[in-house]
Symmetry: C2
């Protein structure tokens, strides 16, 4: 292994190995975060920076590449802006500003660039988020095809959400699973479907986080690597076990038909408009009721347990409809379809 | 013109036209900055975000692509981290945190990635800047070659520098001109040279900015588009005229020999380790003395004047050694060598 493989970009185990080797292991602990803040010492969607006077900001960055740039329900522009907004929101931050950096190949159609920036800016307008700075680079056509959009989100938060799932927590998904990944798979495999990507900003969730600030113990948007990656990260970070009920996971029929044709697992497919929450069990029903009121379709899919056997720490278990159970692994190898 | 051209990435007039058309013109004024802050309403290297309680942060982002990735004096890793540090410093911010996003082509040599991240992290260590979050993506080899590194810098500042050159100001460069661009040109043209890139963080300049906080009216690092781009931006933003003396511009002999062979203009070549300052004339000598004490090789190269004729607003004039004068234009067209 002396060259970068596609699988190194899967957002799962292989990416972690590369980052560990080439970045994390080289950084002293005190440079993984700012004083009083949270950074690479605790892997989440973004970082928290504390200022002397108590101000807290949430920052997140992501580089977005997707082919095709346009897909039913969105575009790389909508994806880039929504994805970074969501990373800020998942840490409890209210996004106030964004920075963007567009790297585009020579020869890229200006009409496409126009549509992409329209999509970016219409979301910023809808949610009243300022675009404060940016960069724009062109790469010769012999070195790159297409477009890469990097976005940086900056949010403010009095009480950031620092993912800490607890024993007994109910695990809630705020909507159907596997939709974005299925749409991209259908395009790449040439499958006919009426499905549209779920890509959208999840800013409305901040109402829930405010209202249940003591009871939402963790929140994440299960993008690259899907629900499987999010649940495995939580289980590994906490040393707890997560048990989910297969029958309670909301997988739309259209997603099922695409995954049946392609052999893909809906639980590793990317989602771009839902969140997974880990919530105090006695408030879980109330949280789902409130989520429904603001337009989500939440489901309680499982719970966090303290493993009796320490070998089971960090495991995610799916209880199947026929009464068996299987381990849900952290995604590894090539993620198909590539959706990053 | 229906496709992106290389010249659209020159960081000069052509880039501005693209950004104006596809981004700025679509954004309402109130979304070009945060409340009380500074953003796309005033083009500088980064943005300032004000918080309710008076905290100010400086943020900047840049996507870096350069071929070759390694060059005498540095690498794309050193360039990415230093460049973003410098953008924060040029706004008077003390960098405290960085985020990075690495997009790399499938097949990229891991040894090269190792050297690149070593370079990034050694600068973070030297200047005690935390790396708090990031992203890592792999693109198939049929869509991209090489590596793109996006960096985000976050700094704190009580008194950000908001570039406002004033009539009478002395214009100072903190070191020799055209070095980084010449090194890259020499590599691309196959010219033998002992020159090394000047790429380095300019954090020490914060001492000068603190000491002369009332008298440094503008500060910028003349990277893409070189000294010509910086001076033209200042002149256009202020409506003043800038007159520089050709004989006072410090151009090293090695740079001259490369620009003579290639026909490139040292004034449009990128610099990665110098700054241009616009300073009260009565403090300019003192500023240069202090700069020398901390290791810079400053030169006063010109001054800001109020044009008598309004047609001359925004012009940059070079007075030649033989007594003539010529307009120094904003760079346009393809910038050679590509250094972004």
């Amino acid at each position: 292994m002396d060259r970068i493989l596609l699988s190194h970009g899967n957002g799962g185990k292989d990416t972690e190995i590369i980052l560990q080797k080439f970045i994390f292991s080289k950084l002293p602990e005190n440079l993984k975060k700012t004083d009083g803040g949270l950074g690479l010492n605790y892997l989440d969607d973004g970082a928290i920076i504390n200022f002397d006077n108590g101000n807290k900001i949430v920052v997140s960055t992501d580089s977005h590449t997707i082919y095709p740039y346009f897909f039913p329900g969105g575009s790389i522009g909508k994806l880039a802006v929504s994805g970074t907004i969501n990373d800020v929101v998942m840490m409890g931050g209210r996004p106030i500003a964004m920075l963007d950096s567009i790297v585009v190949a020579e020869g890229f159609p200006l009409d496409d660039l126009d549509k992409i920036t329209n999509d970016m800016i219409s979301i910023l307008k809808e949610y009243n988020i300022a675009l404060v700075s940016g960069d724009f680079k062109v790469i010769p056509s012999d070195s790159m095809k297409g477009i890469v959009i990097n976005t940086v989100g900056i949010g403010v938060s009095k009480n950031p959400i620092i993912d800490k799932i607890r024993e007994g927590d109910s695990v809630i998904v705020t909507g159907p699973i596997g939709v974005h990944g299925s749409v991209v798979a259908a395009l790449q495999y040439g499958i006919d479907t009426k499905l549209e990507s779920d890509v959208k900003p999840l800013i409305k969730l901040l109402e829930i986080f405010d209202k249940f600030s003591e009871d939402v113990h963790a929140a994440r948007d299960p993008t690259r690597g899907g629900l499987a990656a999010t649940l495995n990260e939580w289980a590994q970070l906490s040393g707890k076990m997560i048990v989910v009920e297969e029958k309670d996971i909301p997988i739309p029929e259209e997603v099922k038909s695409i995954t049946e044709i392609t052999g893909l697992d809906p639980l590793v497919l990317a989602n771009e408009g839902i969140a997974v929450l880990s919530v105090s069990p006695d408030r879980a029903e109330e949280v789902t009721e409130e989520l429904k009121k603001i337009g989500f379709e939440p489901r309680i899919i499982g719970k966090v347990i303290e493993p009796k056997n320490k070998d089971n720490r960090g495991l995610v278990i799916v209880r199947t409809e026929v009464g068996g159970s299987k381990i849900l692994e952290m995604p590894s190898g090539d993620i198909v379809p590539r959706i990053c």
